[in-house]
Amino acid sequence: MSNLSLTAQSALGGIRRDFEGVSLAEVGGHALVSVATPLGGGERLAKAIASSYGAKLPTVGYSSLSDNGRARFLGLQPDQMFLLFEHEDDEALAAVTGQLGDAGYYTDQSDSWAMLRISGPAGRTALERICMLDLHPDSFDIDAVARTTMEHLGVIILREAADSFLLMSPRSSATSFLHAIETSIINVTE
């Protein structure tokens, strides 16, 4: 047994770039865990989420925040949601199990997705160049979430605020994704 310890690396090295009217930053300090609803166990899971996080079970296409604002459930498909929460160590699954017990099936996705936040008044204009979804507030309001593709890459997009979107794309292609988003921003800003 050596005394080696392993060093963690974020998907994009903690990048942050500011453009005229748009900021782009990798989001760190969060864990992402998929929560699947056992067949017939929706009610039990909803109760567990309500009692432990103070959050509602999100409908597909929307997200719901915990009462302390530090965890968000993203409704992605009828029997699956992602739980995004502030977390630092490697024990994300234990943290969720500690809250929800065996009410759901959990899979750690923290290392599966690179997370980028695009914010600022020109963010939506930049996303027009790459995102086929309608991001107008009438169609995609705050807390809305969707799976889509951008430049051939799978993306989960969440509107956190009027001018702030969280983008998650597979980690292995994160550099291509970052390049695509940066190109979109550069193409629409001075």
Binding site: S2, Q9, D111, S176
Partner: protein, 982 residues
């Protein structure tokens, strides 16, 4: 040259003079000019040469329908040929050259073609160059190719960038003329999301070219005010310089926005953006295009469409001639004479084919009613024309109007058929429109201003009603309806000289008659035979008159004759815009393994496997050939230990009470009883009994499994299992999610692999052979607490493991493994060594799992359990898949050990010819085996399992190889598998 033909007024900005060159001649213009209007203002008439006959040509129209004035813009790599001067916005420093001539534009040597015109009639190349046959490729074709084409590309890569994008709206309004602006006002004021797109840089359409009034204001002023009002609305996006070029399914439209074409440089921003617009409803307000009348020598510079002539005078203050005549068959032609006269331009004559009372008094002009223009003269440009009665009239500009064709193109992009209206002598949109589309204004046949404004307003309100949006209740813009009567007149029969229909392709009335005479009478045949309606203008000014003449020839009505199919794009779209960013390294995204950066630092050579970039081998100093690196990696792994990043293998996390039963159904071998802490090889069949994929699945808990798939099939297997879960067995409690990206996974293979791993696995996890035997798995920790998963599985055939850590630790783990492995001389190996070792071991991979092979072919027929039901089980019993002489996966080694085998070679019996009927199978994978010292191969051969020791030929006709090979076991290395279990 000064702007000798510039007149007063217009919508050009005289405070912003611009300078440009045409064939190196310095010229001037103003902001607001097009290249065409500036050339006219400078008195330039000859601007181009025609395609076939190299006839002198001038500017013919004032819009995107221009067939004549094609020029080359800019220079060097930025040079763009075949650009229409009529839609090129003038900017300071624009460099323009003419094209399609040898020698100068004024003295084009190729104009000799005009003298041999009788030999160059429609379809001449189909029948003229038939003999001798050998001359076609060597003589005729090179000559024709050298002569054909218009402008020239630079030959250099396009230095501009392009982009794409996606827009959404409730209502897309295509065209910002009177109908479009009216529609946009109605919809914009109602608060709905509107996109208003127009190909012009100035919104207003014909309002900017006319002198009509709207709501008591000059039309161009009303248009400017309305455009400003719309721009101030948050819910309206006005997009000038944007052509909606195609109507696609479900309310999706393609649009090209020219972002920087009007600027001297793009400033590193995309030159053009190709938009996909999702519209709940659309109103097509694309206006109408004027068409000419065909008469003798009607193609000379100075002969123009009448609406264009007054557009140049009214909008751009550029007089196309000093002494202008008009030839018309409709009321609209008179407006050109009246407007030009009002600007002080001399009107030489007003020639109307209709024998009616004159519509206006034109002092000093000859008014000829019921008359026709028969011929013209003027070598470099019009000097005079002759009426059918013989009267010769001098003029330097002849404005021709044969009526207006509604721009129905987008209504037909989904096979809608237009209908003919006799009162307009034109096609209008039929009832079968693309979903959600309405048509308004001139595009719908409402050719007068009042009607156009009204139709736009109504169409928008109808669309609002569809969408459940209340109208704003504002006042509808109003205008008078101007006279617009027409009497169809297509060509002057008295003309004996050539009369042009399609100016861009040099198609004449005679060519249409020839097509009829030779049997090419259907419009689509007419188009192909004569080239009518092809190229950049797609016959916008030519088609209707041509098919009217064909109708005359065949004795049919015009609607019976029909139109050719309208297809996108409405106007040309550069290939660069269609490609967008997808060029060079941005052609597609790359997936990088967790150890990519480390591998790159080691000088690894990478290979693309799907979107992944994988290390293929790791060259070391002194190695000059890839085989040296690969042989070393294999030998060192088999001798001690090697490490390979296998993260790319698909990983699927499977959980649920019914997860084990689910796996038992999707795999053909049993999984229901796999104990927790064990891994099993699994083979997956398709419904038809053919092998879909293979891999291993580990049971981490009673209701928790992790499946690995091949790299290539990771997505396909996941999709298949989702289908099974959701559609086949929705009553099962089973949940899938990809974990491919979550875990960085490394193969650690070789006799010293355990010793190496024991140095990083935390001591509370016993991985001895007894505690952690072959096919064991466990969730462990490494390097002082980092969570990890360990699987004792082997692809190489050695004692081996795969170890996985969260991806964030992947690179660090690779470094740690190599670091602690130094004492064992551990080596990193790439996909090439991985492939060599799996061939040595006889493991099937992509080359064997082709989607055409069965479990039996692979020697795994007994794996298909008959004790249970699973996908593919029943159809795997088909007779054809169970023939006694079926293919078996076998090993092959060259009889002469120094021969190199090649994949793709086919097996032929020694005494037989290398022909299809003697084919017995094929070589799927080959490798040089450093363990054996010679080339080895895997392949499928009939009855292979009965034929060990037999020698056959491996014939590779493509590479010219014919090698004798011996059929052997596929397991070249450690066939008993003893190494796996030590």
């Amino acid at each position: 040259m000064s702007e000798s033909s510039r007149v007063a007024g217009g919508l050009v900005d005289r405070t912003k003079p611009l300078s440009f060159t045409f064939n190196a001649q310095q010229l001037t213009g103003y902001a607001g000019d097009t290249l065409a209007s500036a050339l006219i203002a400078n008195g330039r008439r000859l601007v181009a040469r025609s395609f076939k006959y190299h006839r002198p040509r001038g500017i013919f129209t004032a819009g995107s329908e221009e067939p004549n004035a094609l020029v080359q813009l800019r220079r060097g790599a930025y040079q763009e040929p075949n650009t229409r001067a009529t839609v090129t916005e003038l900017f300071d420093g624009l460099e323009v050259t003419s094209q399609n001539h040898r020698g100068s534009l004024d003295f084009d040597l190729m104009a000799a073609n005009d003298f041999i015109a009788p030999f160059l009639s429609a379809g001449f190349y189909y029948k003229t160059f038939m003999w001798p046959k050998a001359f076609w490729e060597k003589v005729y074709e090179p000559i024709i190719r050298a002569s054909a084409g218009l402008g020239r590309l630079s030959g250099a890569p396009d230095p501009d960038s392009y982009d794409k994008g996606f827009l959404h709206c409730d209502l897309l309004i295509i065209g910002a003329g009177p109908a479009g602006l009216s529609a946009a006002l109605a919809a914009g004021q109602a608060g709905t999301r509107v996109i208003l797109a127009d190909e012009d840089f100035l919104l207003g359409g014909r309002l900017n070219a006319e002198t009509h009034e709207v709501d008591g204001k000059l039309g161009s002023h009303w248009a400017a005010e309305t455009a400003a009002e719309l721009a101030a609305l948050d819910n309206v996006r006005t997009m000038p310089r944007t052509t909606v070029y195609g109507a696609y399914d479900h309310g999706i439209y393609g649009a090209l926005e020219r972002k920087t074409d009007h600027l001297a440089t793009s400033g590193d921003k995309p030159r053009q953006v190709l938009w996909r617009i999702y519209a709940k409803r659309a109103v097509l307000c694309a206006g109408a295009t004027e068409r000419p009348i065909a008469f003798g020598n009607n193609d000379r510079p100075g002969i123009m469409l009448a609406g264009a002539v007054r557009a140049y005078a009214n909008r751009w203050a550029a007089a196309p001639g000093k002494r202008v005549a008009v030839f018309t068959n409709n009321d609209d032609g008179w407006r050109s004479a009246v407007d030009l006269a009002a600007r002080g331009i001399e009107i030489a004559a007003m020639v109307d084919t209709r024998d009616i009372a004159p519509l206006a008094g034109l002092p000093g002009a000859l008014i000829a009613m019921g008359a026709r223009v028969q011929d013209t003269s003027g070598r470099g440009g019009l000097r005079s024309f002759t009426l059918s009665g013989g009267q010769k009239i001098s003029a330097d500009c002849l404005a021709v109007s044969g009526g207006w064709n509604p721009n129905i193109h987008l209504t037909c992009h989904q096979r809608g058929r237009p209908v003919w209206r006799d009162d307009l002598a034109a096609f209008v949109p039929g009832a079968d429109l693309p979903v959600g589309m309405r048509v308004a204004g001139a595009a719908n046949g409402a050719l007068t201003l009042g009607a156009s404004l009204s139709e736009g307003w109504t169409a928008a309100n109808e669309a609002l009603d569809d969408l459940g949006v209340a109208p704003a209740g504002a006042a509808k813009p109003k205008a008078d309806d101007e006279p617009a009567a027409i009497s169809a007149f297509w060509h002057v029969k008295e003309s004996s000289a050539r009369a042009w229909l399609d100016l861009q392709n040099d198609v004449t009335v005679k060519d249409v008659k020839l097509a009829h005479q030779e049997g090419f009478r259907a419009v689509e045949h007419l188009k192909r035979y004569t080239t009518l309606g092809m190229a950049t203008d797609q016959g916008k000014t030519a088609n209707v008159a041509a098919l009217a003449i064909m109708a005359e020839c065949t004795g049919k009505l015009i609607p019976e004759t029909g139109t050719t199919i309208f297809r996108p794009p409405f106007t040309p779209v550069p290939i660069g815009a269609l490609a967008g960013r997808a060029r060079g390294k941005d052609f597609r995204p790359y997936r990088l393994t967790p150890s990519h950066k480390w591998a790159a630092d080691q000088g690894a050579v990478f290979v693309e496997t799907g979107m992944w970039l994988r290390a293929q081998w790791f060259p070391r100093d002194g190695e000059t050939h890839w085989r040296q690196s690969v042989d070393r990696e294999v030998s060192q792994t088999r001798a001690s230990v090697g490490i390979c990043d296998v993260t790319t293998l698909g990983k699927i996390d499977i959980q649920g009470r019914d997860a084990a039963d689910f796996l038992n159904k999707v795999y053909c071998n049993g999984f229901a009883k796999l104990p927790v802490g064990k891994v099993r090889y699994g083979l997956m069949l398709r419904e038809d009994g053919i092998v879909m994929d293979d891999g291993t699945t580990a049971r981490l808990g009673e209701s928790h499994f992790v499946m690995t798939t091949t790299t290539a099939n990771a997505v396909g297997v996941f999709r298949h299992m989702e289908f099974c879960r959701q559609c086949l067995w929705p009553g099962m409690d089973v949940h899938l999610i990809s974990a491919t990206e979550q875990w960085a996974q490394f193969a650690v293979a070789g006799p010293n692999s355990r010793q190496l791993l024991q140095k990083i696995v935390d001591p509370d996890h016993d991985i001895s052979n007894e505690a952690f035997p072959f096919m064991a798995c466990s969730e462990i920790t490494v390097c002082g607490g980092t969570p990890a998963r360990l699987f004792r599985i082997s692809f190489s055939g050695e004692l081996a493991y795969e170890i996985a850590v969260p991806t964030r630790y992947g690179e660090s783990l690779m470094q740690a493994l190599l670091s602690v492995g130094a004492e064992f001389d551990a080596v990193a190996y790439g996909t090439e060594a991985l492939g060599v070792m799996r061939v040595e071991k006889g493991h099937a991979a992509g080359n064997e799992l082709t989607g055409q092979t069965s479990a039996r072919n692979l020697g795994m027929g007994r794996l298909v359990s008959k004790k249970k039901d699973c996908i593919g089980n029943v159809l795997s019993e088909r007779a054809a898949l169970n023939r006694e002489n079926g293919l078996s996966l076998m090993g092959f080694r060259p009889v002469n050990r120094s021969d190199a085998l090649s994949a793709g070679a086919h097996f032929i019996a020694r005494a037989r010819n290398a022909a299809m009927e003697n084919d017995e199978g094929w070589m799927t994978s080959v490798a040089f085996s450093p363990s054996l010292g010679h080339s080895i191969g895997l392949g499928f051969i009939e009855r292979g399992h009965e034929r060990k020791g037999e020698v056959v030929r491996a014939v590779d006709l493509v590479r010219g190889k014919d090698i004798e090979v011996e059929i052997v076991s596929a397991h070249f290395v450690d066939p008993e598998g003893a190494r796996l279990r030590v």
